[in-house]
């Protein structure tokens, strides 16, 4: 809860300066206490569009603090930018790009035209930098940045874009060189299919081959992946020395957990995003020991320069300003502003051509490492660092001039335990079946409430995934605050969610149930937007995971493991399905529910209180849905935007199965689970991507080809037009 209050506080504090900046474009630094305007000969104005809201809000805040660290330092400690004996005050105009490409572009144009900034500092993320750098290029304004590292944007021949950080394709270079020197000979690569992660993986493949390491397989997976077990199963059977993988922080959690679950033990695990973040150690504890990761910068690195002193000095200064240690995104931002500052001083003017020439000539040692740019505008003199988690500490192990500890390789018994390849005669079929059934059990319990509400009430609960998400947060909260196992908190979450369901039914659903589908669809959709963003305001967009005692896996054979958590979810799912089935077929209430589903008017005539039935059904189903969220909270990452994909899967399964059919929900869930697991295991390279597409293709195909569903349900369906 303290975190929640803190986040609200941050939001409120952030609100004031941004409102001011939006209104008049005034700068932030005006309130710096020690600045006496008379001292300065003029002002040099920089501009940046950064993400204060949206998916990059956390990194956007770090980048902004990085820029502001330079700003405070240059105006207060350094005494202003020096140009031919005069001192100029620096200021930075900020806008919030909402993590959105159109907004970022629009604001960059506004910075150039309306705020007339002399120079631009980069936004956060490769995607936003790619778009905004084109605007900078077209308007001949220099952009110096440290947080957009994808190679593609430096292949466009731009003259005005400069990157102080190491480019994405070199992220793994020093790590791979060190590992190859220690004897690694084979490797597998798994990467998210986004711009940045693909560039990192492409670079890794090149560096591996250049160092004599064979790349046995490359697998891709989509953003926001929830399950990498298929990829890890394939990799386990290849038995490589090295695993190289990554994309987002959450992927690192999945890789470590899944490798442990499946008994996949490569000699080294190099994960491109996540290991340098102390959160990962907090979250995974001992499991993450030995994991390697690249880092742009760490306070412990042995770099120093004349401006902020050493890396550690910079970290102290940063912490004195913001009460938290700097992450590398912040250091990169400070370094970008510093590089620009040095180039302006070297050029002796703010003229774009002069400063560009000075940037090209720049060669400086800084707290961030050496900075000098090649003809693309990329800083090629700073190598990427590599860290390793050793006994819960994050220590730099490469390159040699920055290392503070010895690289541990191979880990434990390495891949030596099993010797040869693990593939047996049956191949991966047993594992594919187990994965598919485990996934199907999870989908069954997740989809049930959606199917029954649609079947009985004719309401399409577009906020279904959001109720799962709220239930998952409740379980996570209980787990985080009091250490309650999510399996134990299921009944409580069920009760709480029933109350929420009752309230939503009374406040919203009751008002739209007699209106056409479009109305209820849109109202529930509005509710989904509200729930997502309210939860994001309270808990931030960080991925969470509840801990359960029922984790790990049972090893049946070397190439077959059963995930424990998913097994118990399947058991509980079967129990819930059976219970609901009995309720519907054997009890008086169940008869009333079925009657109301088949013909509301007739049910009313025979004396059934239909609106009471609706209240009970809705509350019960939301309770089940929330409880399902609690059940999967150790498996699926808990985050505010986990709902929409689940809602779509619920659609797909329900459309396949028939509305409100309990057997259908189970059957449809199993079909989807098996199809996804089969595709993921049997298709090389892009199998996991195809598994994600599968449910949507099934959805559309099922609707078009067999709109009444495969299993028949509570409510007859008449989906085709005329």
């Amino acid at each position: 809860m303290r975190r929640a209050v803190f986040m609200l506080g941050i939001a409120l504090v952030a609100l004031l300066p941004v409102a001011a900046a939006c209104g008049s474009g005034t700068d932030e630094s005006a309130d710096s206490p020690s600045t006496v305007p008379g001292e300065f000969a003029g002002t040099i104005r920089l501009g940046a569009a950064l993400s204060e809201t949206g998916k990059y809000s956390v990194e956007g805040k770090d980048s902004r603090q990085g820029y502001d660290t330079w700003l405070r330092w240059v105006n207060e400690a350094y005494g202003g930018i020096r140009i031919s004996g005069q001192r100029y005050r620096a200021e930075i105009v900020y806008y919030d790009d909402e993590s959105d490409a159109d907004t970022a572009g629009n604001l960059t144009q506004r910075l150039i035209d309306d705020d007339r900034v002399d120079f631009l500092l980069g936004p956060y993320s490769s995607g936003l930098t790619t778009g905004t750098s084109a605007i900078a290029e077209a308007n001949n304004v220099l952009m110096v940045e440290g947080n957009g590292t994808s190679d593609t944007m430096f292949e466009r021949g731009f003259r005005n874009l400069f990157l102080v950080a190491t480019i994405a394709s070199d992220y793994t270079r020093s790590g791979i060189e060190a590992l190859a020197a220690r004897g690694a000979r084979t490797a597998v690569i798994a990467h998210e299919d986004t711009s940045f992660a693909t560039a990192v993986a492409g670079g890794a493949a090149r560096h591996l081959e250049a160092n004599g390491v064979d790349v046995l397989a490359v697998e891709t997976y989509p953003k926001d992946i929830q399950d990498v077990s298929a990829i890890m199963t394939k990799f386990r059977d290849l038995d490589p020395d090295l695993f190289v993988g990554g994309g987002h922080y959450n992927d690192a959690v999945l890789f470590v957990n899944s490798a442990k679950e499946l008994g996949f033990k490569p000699g080294g695990m190099l994960i491109t995003v996540g290991p340098s973040n102390p959160k990962l150690v907090d979250e995974l504890g001992r499991d993450v020991d030995g994991v390697l990761g690249p880092t742009q910068w760490e306070p412990s690195m042995a770099y120093r320069g004349p401006y902020f002193g050493s890396a550690a000095d910079y970290a102290d200064y940063y912490e004195s300003l913001w009460d938290e240690p700097p992450v590398y995104q912040a250091a990169s931002a400070t370094a970008a502003a510093l590089a620009l500052h040095l180039a302006i001083e070297a050029a002796g003017s703010v003229d774009t051509d002069a400063v560009r020439a000075a940037l090209r000539e720049l060669s400086a040692d800084t707290f961030y490492g050496p900075i000098s740019f090649d003809e693309r505008g990329v800083n090629v003199s700073k190598p990427m660092g590599m860290i390793q988690v050793l006994d819960g500490d994050i220590v730099v192990v490469a390159p040699d001039d920055a290392a503070v500890a010895q690289l541990q390789y191979p880990l434990g018994d390495g891949g030596a335990e099993r010797g040869g390849s693990g593939s047996s005669g049956l191949g991966q079929l047993p594992q594919a079946l187990v994965n598919g059934i485990a996934l199907g059990g999870m989908y069954a319990v997740l989809v049930l409430g959606f199917s029954v509400i649609w079947g009985v009430m004719g309401v399409i609960n577009f906020a279904h995934g959001e109720f799962v998400m709220v239930g998952a947060y409740l379980a996570w909260l209980a787990n985080d605050l009091w250490g309650v196992d999510p399996f134990l908190s299921v009944p409580v979450v069920f009760a709480v969610m029933m109350v929420l369901g009752y309230a939503v039914q009374r406040l919203l659903v009751d008002r739209v149930i007699d209106r056409p589908h479009l109305v209820s669809l849109l109202v529930m959709f509005g509710l989904a937007i509200i729930l997502q963003n309210a939860m994001k305001l309270i808990f931030s967009a960080d991925f969470r995971r509840a801990d359960t005692a029922l984790d790990g896996s049972w090893r049946v054979t070397d190439s077959l493991t059963v995930p424990v958590t998913k097994f118990w979810i399947l058991m509980i799912a079967l129990g819930v399905l059976g219970g609901l089935s009995v309720l519907l077929s054997r009890t008086r209430l169940g008869k009333g529910i079925r009657a109301a589903a088949q013909n509301r008017e007739a049910a009313r005539i025979v004396g059934i209180d239909v609106s009471k039935v609706y209240v009970i059904v809705f509350a019960l189903c939301i309770g089940i849905t929330g409880a399902a969220g609690a059940l999967v909270s150790p498996v699926l990452a808990v985050q505010p935007f986990q709902g929409p994909p689940l809602t779509l899967k619920a659609f797909a399964i329900t459309a396949m199965a028939g509305l409100g059919s309990i057997r259908g929900a189970l059957g449809g869930a199993m079909v989807l689970g098996l199809v996804e697991a089969g595709l993921a295991i049997y298709v090389e390279g892009v199998g996991t991507n195809l598994a994600v597409v599968a449910s949507f293709v099934i959805l559309v195909a099922a609707l078009v080809l067999r709109p009444q569903g495969l299993f028949g349900g509570l409510r007859p369906v008449d989906a085709t037009a005329a």
């Binding site: 506004r110 084109a134 292949e155 989509p222 008002r511 669809l521 937007i529 509200i530 007859p716």
Partner: protein, 349 residues
């Protein structure tokens, strides 16, 4: 004499009916203002903002063609935007992972629109057999499936990395091109409402079976309109890709474009000519106000706004003024009746 004669049609035009003169004067004034705006010193930034607004207005108008006129509520309309953007990018890009043929922009954007329209025709033939929520959901599924296919088909689309286009950012040119296109779209919908074709579309919404019995080939009509809307949205997608100089699956295919089109149309008035225009502009303005003052809360506020509009203002802003505009209330009532018919037709299992 001469001047009196030339004044007569103008006077007639102005005196078209109660409140109509004022509307026409206002429309003419806004149009004149939009035409001269870039000439009286609007900055690139202003013109860029305006073209983004034109884009959302155009997508809303296109959505309204099927969602408002034929009553087929499309939850995946942004798929045509993304397809137009991607085809344009693939044809224009010189990157090795696209075709690398570097077409000039005009044919690339036109082909993008044609491909989007053709695919809309194909997919529409299948999905428009579905009705009510089933159509909505099938389109949502189509949207996500196409996005994932684009992401997976890396050899052509650059996969998750996306494609970059040569940066050519003449904001004034884009401004005028999109202004002309939006005005053309408004004129087209205005004209459509006055033709038999338009009447047939509304008949599909009001009673599809009845329309069929009166000899209207409903399938052909609704697929034709769906395909046209897809092509038109694809055209704006292509223009957008060119201006953004960069596409990847997540920025080209974003749900927000569909949501904005639906919200803008509902706010302005479903099934009216001016509704999508007025609604999208108001929405844009509202968002700027909310955005400036509410930060993260603005998304919550948007959800609240959506629920309030649906529940309390079903006819939208324009619907409240325009009597000839289709009464959304009537629309709601009708479709409910159709839904109520369902159980009666059914046989008990």
């Amino acid at each position: 004499m001469n001047s009196r004669r030339s004044a007569r049609p103008l006077r007639q035009w102005l005196a078209g009916g109660r409140g109509l003169a004022a509307t026409r004067v206002a429309v003419a004034a806004v149009l004149a203002w939009l035409i001269v705006l870039p000439l009286v010193g609007a900055t690139d930034s202003t013109m860029f903002t305006m073209t983004l607004m034109f884009t959302s207005v155009a997508v809303a108008i296109n959505w309204n063609l099927t969602g408002g006129f034929t009553g087929y509520v499309d939850f995946g309309h942004a798929v045509w935007f993304g397809l137009g953007a991607y085809v344009t990018a693939i044809l224009m890009s010189l990157q090795a992972n696209s075709l690398g043929i570097g077409w000039p922009p005009v044919p690339a954007i036109v082909v993008g629109a044609v491909v989007a329209g053709a695919l809309a025709g194909l997919i529409g033939r299948a999905t428009m057999r579905l009705r009510g929520p089933y159509f909505s959901i099938a389109m949502l599924g189509t949207f996500v499936a196409v996005r994932e296919i684009v992401r997976t088909w890396g050899g052509l689309t650059g996969g998750g990395v996306g494609l970059t286009l040569p940066p050519y950012l003449n904001r004034q040119l884009f401004y005028y091109v999109e202004l002309v296109l939006v005005v053309g779209l408004v004129a087209l919908t205005w004209w459509l409402r006055r033709t038999r074709f338009g009447a047939a579309l509304v008949a599909i919404r009001e009673d599809e079976l009845g329309a069929q019995m009166r000899g209207i080939s409903t399938t052909r009509l609704k697929v034709a309109v769906f395909s046209f809307a897809g092509a038109s949205t694809g055209l704006f997608g292509g223009l957008w890709a060119y201006q953004n100089t960069f596409v990847d699956p997540d920025i080209a295919f974003t749900e927000v474009r569909t949501i904005d089109a639906i919200m803008g149309t509902l706010l302005g008035g479903l099934g009216t000519v001016a509704g999508p225009v007025v609604g999208s502009v108001v929405l844009y303005w509202l968002r700027e106000v909310l955005w400036a003052n509410l930060l993260d809360y603005h998304l919550v506020a948007q959800g609240v706004l959506l629920i309030m509009v649906v529940l309390l203002m079903p006819r939208g802003i324009v619907g409240a003024f325009d009597r000839r505009g289709v009464s959304a209330r009537r629309l709601w009532r009708f479709r409910r009746r159709q839904a109520d018919d369902q159980p009666e037709k059914a046989t008990a299992p």
